[in-house]
């Protein structure tokens, strides 16, 4: 064998979702990433979240840029739509797609290189526009695909595999996103599947842009002693600040979440997110407070995780720009192209 396939196996009494699909129905092709790569775990979390939400794969669009992380769209939801775009250009592609058809679920997958270097401007404007999508930033502190150069998320003092030390300050995507009006900012770790799955579900339900910055170790180039993005380092400094549970519209909020203990945030789809603060003095609806906590945590090396900030009040791009409910492909040609006379009338208004 030169590679292997994951066989599809029907177990007895296998769990099924509302569509009658099994978890394995949400898999994609077998990953060709290095064995042990954190990105594969993020892929598994995405597949599980879509399975648990009973989403129809063909109603999902997967988009990505370039990098090991960006390759992973192939490894889940094989029946979904998708495109690998140009390095750093996924946000524009997703913005365009969301503009012409707002009825699909958009999943962007990117890396710290793809998003924070070549694609930084692209990502920033998708955040500002509040494009209705979930944006997975699989953050390993290096350019994995090109063999381990420091990326813009590398911490000062973190060392490369061959020993070189990073001396440039890191871009924290969460702080940056908060500073430009992001409405859903979360951080997680590929090793905490339970948290990751619930954040993904919450992010999909959120109206607008949902950024999930996932620490996702690169086993081949950034998992050594001295790296601040290794499994060992992340497990050591990992700190859960806020827990978020997505409650679908069909389910009632149960008594288990007594008042004071949990804070429900009503979502646009009729469901809600139940926030449980694990740090008493952390408030995930206070933008400035969240930014200052994150800045402080940079000093202590602590990795604050969970749903760090949420604002459900701002409209997503489609509402804001009054884009049509009907996807462009279903609009009659006469509406898409009303003809030369209408064009002339519009032009006349500007004369």
């Amino acid at each position: 064998m030169t590679s292997f396939v994951k066989p599809k196996i029907r177990r007895l009494n296998e769990p099924k979702n509302e569509l009658g699909k099994t978890r394995a129905d949400y898999d994609g092709a077998m990953s060709t990433l290095c064995a042990g790569c954190g990105h594969d775990s993020v892929t598994a979390a995405l597949a599980r979240a879509f399975f648990e939400l009973s989403k129809e794969p063909k109603d999902v669009v997967k988009v990505s840029g370039i990098g090991c992380s960006s390759k992973t769209t192939t490894y889940f939801l094989k029946d979904a739509h998708g495109a690998n775009t140009v390095h750093g250009r996924m946000p524009s592609f997703a913005t365009g797609a969301a503009a012409v058809n707002k009825n699909l679920t958009y999943v962007g997958v990117s890396g710290d290189g793809d998003s924070l270097s070549i694609g930084l401007g692209q990502m920033a404007h998708a955040i500002r526009r509040n494009v209705d999508m979930i944006y997975m930033l699989e953050n390993n502190g290096v350019y994995g695909l090109t063999k381990g150069q420091f990326s813009a998320s590398s911490d000062i003092g973190s060392t490369a595999k061959k020993g070189a030390t990073n001396t440039l300050p890191p871009i924290d995507p969460a702080i940056m996103a908060l500073s430009i009006g992001a409405t859903f900012v979360a951080r997680s770790f590929s090793g905490d599947k339970a948290q990751l799955v619930s954040l993904i579900k919450a992010g999909i339900a959120h109206r607008g842009f949902a950024l999930i910055d996932v620490i996702s170790p690169c086993v081949s180039f950034n998992d050594h002693k001295g790296s601040t993005k290794s499994y060992a380092h992340t497990y050591q400094y990992y700190h859960k600040a806020v827990h978020a549970d997505y409650v679908p519209p069909s389910e009632e909020i149960t008594a288990a979440y007594a008042e004071g203990e949990a804070m429900p945030v009503e979502l646009h789809d009729g469901g809600s997110i139940l926030l449980r603060k694990l740090d008493a003095d952390y408030d995930p609806t206070d933008r400035a407070g969240a930014m200052s906590k994150l800045l402080q945590s940079q000093q202590t090396q602590e990795i604050l995780t969970g749903l760090l900030y949420i604002d459900e009040s701002r409209p997503a791009m489609a509402e804001h720009k009054k884009l049509p409910e009907t996807p462009l492909h279903s609009l009659p040609y006469s509406k898409l192209n009303p003809g030369a006379d209408v064009l002339r009338k519009i032009q006349d208004e500007f004369r």
Partner: protein, 597 residues
């Protein structure tokens, strides 16, 4: 909960469901791999080490391994383990020069084996090569026990039986045919170093109902009747035959009747189908031959006219059956008389030892079954051992073989004056199966093929003679597919907690989602909540690792559904999971430490 102790040899053994279920612990997956490589002789010999009669058992074994087979957890039907055993036997070369030879010197110890069935033959097989002088006493004119006298030749050809018995006789075993032992005391007086009783359960049960005496000429006891057929004393039967009972003996009686001239054969069962004793495959084979199986009929009387049997009367029963399938109530709802020419009684066998005197020093318990130690097979009299159907009542060939192995160990130890209970322990040897990237020493990819169906001789042809073997054996194409259905359960998943860095790769790749990393808990039930399918199927217990270095959590694995596909080991960056071939060493007489002359 404590970490699983994998150093207990039974831990990895139990994972190999088929081998664990086989009374003689035949290493099934290992021999299937040899067949896959075309190494039929090697597969045959590996089988022979544990079950002694691969050709015979490859046809007629009760196959407890198959219902146990792991494959049934992800597929409709188990691997055709038994049929593959026959493949090894059918395609082997002449292996006689690879078998133990008659030793040049005797060790001076004389062993008497009473009855020439599979139990005695196994004892001889294990002891003769060690220098013991083994003598088998058999009352019939041919060796083999019920394998010859009762199992019909259309299921077990004489040639197959003869060959495998001859291998053992060639080791220098003395066989005395037509020599019934009529006195145990006389036997004991002859100064044997040990005596083994392998005389089976020779008495067929009778049915004393009105008309039994008048109809006697046409009422037969199943096992006696089959024996008479086997030795050509009976060559015909009436046109209409009723078989009473629905166990495996009944199946052989009905199919034999068809071959002796009957054209309407009914098997009469007292209860509904779910309560039949016969194996499903034997029922299918009988029904394929148009035997009618009549349920809910309980025998009431034999009907005779002018001193001749003409039919039988039955009470018709109705049963109440609960959700669990158990009978909770029953009533008679009528009566029916069915005409017939002959009745064959197949309602069970019993032990009988008329030749063992009450004062021979051998204690008997309930139902005239001797008191026998379940580990050593020694009776209450030192140096006298029992095995096979004679020990604990009727079982089957593979149990007789296992009893024989154990009795041989005991006899060997007894003759050296060693403690019978202090036997060599089982052991497991583990060897990594990794060859390289994506390469393992076994075919680890899952093959979804369904079980291959055995071809049978056409109905019109198979009744021409009594000894036409019905099953044709697997074709080359069938072999090639069936071997790939085995999941290689003996290629064990072995975990080393100190190596794990909790990347989740193994958990994510596992096609049956049977792994998880979770905080420790007090009970298995609590730990199972972390699995994708927490409800526990029956069978294997949960594997629980030692605490993991980074977080102190534990790795758990539901062995019930693991397919041994090796993907966890393939994806593990640190080789914390490895696939290792586990060879389970089941000691036999020649593995006991002490040397022999």
């Amino acid at each position: 909960m404590k970490a699983t102790d994998t150093s207990n040899p039974d831990y990895f053994h139990k994972v190999v469901d088929c081998q664990w279920a086989c009374p003689a612990h035949t290493p099934v997956p290992a021999y299937i791999r040899l067949i896959a490589q075309g190494r039929y002789s090697d597969a045959y010999l590996l089988n022979r080490d544990s079950n002694v009669f691969p050709g015979i058992l490859g046809r007629v074994c009760d196959r407890p391994c198959e219902p146990a087979c792991r494959r049934t957890r992800v597929d409709e039907e188990p691997v055709a383990i038994c049929r593959l055993k026959r493949v090894a036997a059918d395609h082997r070369d002449d292996i006689s020069d690879r078998l133990p030879k008659k030793p040049e010197h005797s060790n001076g110890k004389r062993i008497a084996l009473i009855g020439a069935g599979p139990a005695s033959f196994t004892v001889a097989n294990d002891l003769a090569p060690l220098g013991y002088e083994c003598t088998i006493f058999e009352k019939l004119s041919e060796p083999g026990g019920l394998m010859r006298a009762n199992i019909p030749a259309f299921r077990l050809p004489e040639k197959v039986l003869n060959e495998e018995l001859q291998y053992i006789l060639d080791m220098g075993v003395d066989l005395k045919l037509g020599t019934p032992v009529s006195s145990m005391k006389a036997m004991l007086d002859d100064g044997w170093d040990a005596v083994f009783v392998g005389t089976g359960a020779p008495k067929g049960k009778d049915l004393y109902l009105p008309g039994r005496e008048e109809g006697a000429a046409n009422i037969h006891i199943g096992i006696d009747w089959l024996e008479s057929v086997a030795f050509d004393h009976i060559e015909a039967i009436g046109k209409k035959v009723l078989i009473i009972g629905v166990g495996n003996t009944a199946m052989d009686c009905c199919r034999t009747s068809l071959r002796l001239g009957a054209d309407s054969v009914k098997v009469m069962a007292r209860k509904p189908r779910n309560f039949f004793k016969a194996s499903e495959w034997e029922l299918e084979d009988a029904e394929e031959e148009n035997v009618e199986i009549v349920v809910n009929h309980s025998p009431k009387a034999f009907v005779t006219e002018n001193g001749k049997l003409v039919g039988m009367t039955f009470e018709l029963f109705e049963y109440d059956i609960d959700d669990k399938g158990e009978i909770t109530g029953q009533r008679v709802i009528g009566e029916e008389t069915i005409p017939c020419d002959d009745v064959i009684l197949a309602i069970g066998q019993e032990n009988a030892f008329p030749w063992i005197e009450q004062d021979a020093g051998i204690e008997f318990g309930k139902w005239d079954i001797p008191v026998v130690d379940e580990e050593t097979f020694e009776s209450s009299r030192k140096g006298v051992f029992f095995g096979g159907d004679a020990a604990f009542g009727p079982k089957n060939i593979i149990w007789a073989v296992e009893h024989g192995h154990q009795a041989a160990i005991s006899i060997h130890r007894h003759c050296q004056g060693l403690d019978l209970h202090d036997r060599a322990p089982r052991e497991v040897e583990l060897q990594s199966a990794k060859m390289g990237m994506f390469e393992w020493r076994y075919s680890n990819s899952f093959d979804a093929s369904e079980r291959r169906e055995m071809e049978h001789v056409e109905l019109v042809d198979r009744f021409k003679r009594l000894n036409i073997e019905v099953e044709l054996g697997f074709s080359a194409e069938q072999i090639a597919v069936e071997v790939q259905r085995c999941l290689n359960c003996d290629i064990q998943t072995v975990f080393e907690a100190p190596l794990c860095e909790e990347c989740d790769a193994c958990i994510d790749v596992c096609p049956v989602e049977c792994l998880s990393i979770t905080p420790g808990a007090d009970s298995e039930a609590d730990l199972r909540q972390a699995l994708s399918q927490p409800e526990a199927p029956e069978g294997q217990s949960l594997y629980v690792s030692a605490p993991l270095p980074l977080t102190g959590r534990v790795m758990i694995k539901d062995e019930n559904v693991c397919l041994h596909c090796g993907l966890c080991a393939e994806r593990c960056p640190t080789a914390a999971w490895d696939m290792k071939e586990g060879v389970i060493r089941i000691p036999h007489a020649d593995d006991q430490m002490e040397t022999v002359a």
